[in-house]
């Protein structure tokens, strides 16, 4: 099928949600030998690459393993009304190697978002030239991830100096020549992460002249080796500096507290977010940081595998309280395995729900067989600290879902959902937008910016879920409100307040 122009065919689900295939197949390179990288692709970037006001979609793609033909990445330009055009080749984003994740951010402050791809053998920085094309700027920017297997990244301004620095999440050391054959329920399957050595993450400081300096060691980041899967960037302790939370696969998560002056302190145990409080280590996958209880502080939720639950942490200011059980998320997610995840207000009631792309880490042709496939799910925030099953997605086909990003792709005021799945075409879940509450879309773009509307607080962050990125307007569900006050605080401390009517998109600049 040629994907130059996409006319999406939506199938109707319960609750009038509709689903359509979108873009080319995500190629994993899985074979009977079950090479570990084949279970990890599937990131998504949602960003407006051409500044036309519509959110475009980028899908990094894998290829043959251990090293073979690359499956081309895909950039889909949003033409409006769910019409997309595949512009990958013209944009120069076909890619060079096996890619898993992506992160959008305007590192050179030229007003056009650039794109970083995370791959099995390193990272690639694509500079947006502003004319629809990108150029490979990795070498010119002096970005070198030393050939490490990277999965996710966050663009964030670590020193509040006005330009975006880069944090890269690295997974494990993988050598196809020495990879073992592992059996699960008597069948070859992906090996447990304990079979692979950990890697440190990487931090690159933006020099403000189009180049970066690797500050992984002096910042304190490189001292901590993990098996990183995803990152959330937010000012968790409200000290004006963006902190980082990194999920690790079957080992302790990292909380890198930003001390300022380019220094970070790993203090996940002290903050209560290293492992769930019952002490059972989990396979931390995708992560989302948002304020689910509307107390003004960013909380954390991440996906994990079956019998691990999706841990939820409520931010108390300096420490976190694990609320997985109290929120009812523990019984809701006990039997699930998940990858992509997002806090997102699907019903526009002013309370952020939890959306998850699900499936096991094991192969659908391995020990678990087809049971490794699961349908996506969402959990409705009941506005009292608890969650319940969300309606409308039950009929979605089970698949090996990985990436998930919530975004209002047709500007109708309701969040649609983009999903990837291994060896399958991505899916677009179109929100029915009937009976939902009022809304406001606030476009401020700069990562680290805080936006408050009533009790709700959101932060601009390029990193979301699993290996994914969202760089677009912040969506606020507002329930029955007709008029709201909006307060925007940029990373440099400048604040702006406006009053506005609801059900519209606004753009604010410092």
């Amino acid at each position: 099928m040629k994907w130059s122009s996409l006319n999406l065919l939506f199938l109707t689900l319960a609750g009038n949600w509709t689903v359509a295939p979108l873009g080319p197949v995500l190629v994993t390179g899985e074979s009977v030998k079950k090479p570990l990288p084949a279970t990890t692709p599937g990131g998504i970037a949602v960003f407006d690459y051409n500044n036309d006001g519509r959110l475009d979609l980028f899908f990094p793609n894998g290829g043959a393993l251990p090293q073979g033909p690359k499956a081309p990445n895909a950039l889909l330009r949003n033409n409006g009304n769910f019409q997309f055009t595949n512009v990958t080749a013209a944009a120069g984003l076909t890619g060079l190697d096996y890619d898993l994740g992506a992160a959008a951010g305007d590192y050179d402050n030229d007003g056009y978002p650039d794109l970083l791809t995370l791959g099995l053998r390193g990272i690639t920085l694509y500079r947006n030239q502003g004319n629809g094309a990108f150029t490979n700027a990795t070498a010119a920017a002096r970005l070198d991830n030393r050939g490490r297997w990277s999965v996710a990244a966050a663009w964030f301004d670590m020193e509040n100096d006005g330009d975006l620095d880069l944090f890269v999440v690295n997974y494990v050391q993988w050598n196809p020549a020495t990879e073992q054959v592992c059996l699960v329920v008597g069948k070859p399957d992906f090996c447990h992460p304990r079979h692979y050595a950990p890697e440190p993450n990487a931090l690159f400081r933006n020099n403000g002249d189009g180049t970066f300096t690797d500050v992984s060691a002096p910042s304190g980041i490189a001292a901590h080796k993990g098996k990183g899967m995803s990152v959330a960037a937010a000012d968790f302790d409200a000290d004006g500096l963006i902190d980082l939370y990194v999920t690790n696969d079957r080992t302790f998560a990292f909380y890198f507290r930003n001390l300022g002056q380019g220094r970070f302190e790993e203090c996940a145990f002290a903050r209560g977010v290293a492992v769930p409080q019952d002490g059972r280590p989990v396979s931390g996958m995708g992560v989302s940081a948002e304020d689910y209880d509307n107390d003004g502080r960013p909380d954390l939720v991440y996906t994990a595998l079956r019998d691990e639950t999706f841990p939820l942490y409520r931010n108390l200011g300096q420490e976190f309280e694990e609320t997985t059980a109290k929120s009812r998320l523990a019984p809701l997610t006990r039997a699930l395995a998940g990858w992509g995840i997002a806090f997102a207000d699907l019903d526009n009631d002013g309370w952020k729900d939890i959306l998850a792309a699900r499936s096991d880490a094991l192969s659908a042709t391995g020990g678990y067989g087809a049971k490794a496939k699961e349908p996506p799910a969402w959990f409705r925030n009941q506005a009292n600290g608890t969650f319940a099953h969300g309606a409308g997605w039950a009929a979605l086909e089970p698949a090996m879902y990985r990436g998930l990003v919530a975004a209002d792709l047709n500007a109708d005021g309701c969040l649609d959902v983009v999903l990837t799945a291994l060896q399958a075409t991505p899916r677009l879940l179109r929100h029915p937008c009937q009976g939902a509450g009022n809304w406001l879309s606030v476009d401020v773009r700069a990562p680290g910016t805080r936006v408050r509307i009533g009790a709700q607080t959101r932060w601009v962050s390029s990193a979301t879920g699993y290996a994914s990125s969202y760089l677009g307007p912040l969506h606020f569900g507002l329930g029955p409100a007709q008029q709201v006050d909006v307060e925007v605080t940029w990373p440099d401390g400048r604040t702006r307040r406006i009053a506005t009517a609801v059900n519209r998109a606004i753009q604010l600049k410092p």
Partner: protein, 285 residues
Amino acid sequence: MKLLLLFLLSALLPAQEDTAAAAARAMREGRFAEAERLYRALIKQIPQEPRLQLNLALALHSGKKYADANAAFAQFLKTNPPPGPVHLVAGLSLLKAGRACDAAAVLEKARRWQASEQVLTELADAYAACKRYPQAGAAYLAAAAKATANAGRLQRAAARSFWQARDYPAARPLFTALGPAFENDAEFLYESGDTLARAEGFAAGLPLLERSVELAPGLTPARGALGRALVEAGRHAEAIPHLVAASPADATLLMPLSRAYKATGRVEDAARAEQQYRQSLSTQN
């Protein structure tokens, strides 16, 4: 299982017929070593007769020489692959020899021949020993559906298998239904309480875990599960002795133990438990 599978042999020379008859008599009278010796002698004379391999396999199996029996069964099944009763005995022999995963494959063939209570039970045992718990649970349930006398025991085994498979939605109704029959069984109460704690929250499992530990204070995993549930319930002081008792066998319990110490003001103990936890888990990963 009583073996009635001796195959009669035809087209033998008179002396060979005598030997075969003596071997069959030895089998009937429980002199399995003698039967083995006679069948081996016959096989030397007529190596192309697969049924002799089968009879030898049956003699070896009956004589509890399972490793040798497995080789003889394999030899026979190589030339007689269609599913049949031999697969059941061959599977049993593999199971007895500790080759549960191989036994499961052979018993799956026996199930194709006859999905009886006995075949399904042996297959479920093989799955369980091979740690294929989801399949074990399903096979035990299928066996229970055909059982006349053992249904409760098989359902209990199914509940345990689903619990081991961490399939709590499948395990929970079985534990609930079986509860009255096992109200004084500490292991049942532990597995049932753990299922409820995980599927519904700690409060649901707490009474069963308390009862389990009351019945069997030495059941360490139950004490660990009870300790965790008590911490979640905010009953930190009560949790500490259980977590102390169970943490040598399960280092993950050091984390809730640290929480319990911290909540009861034992700051140094809390720090030490957390440090032990970090060291222990770091070496595992």
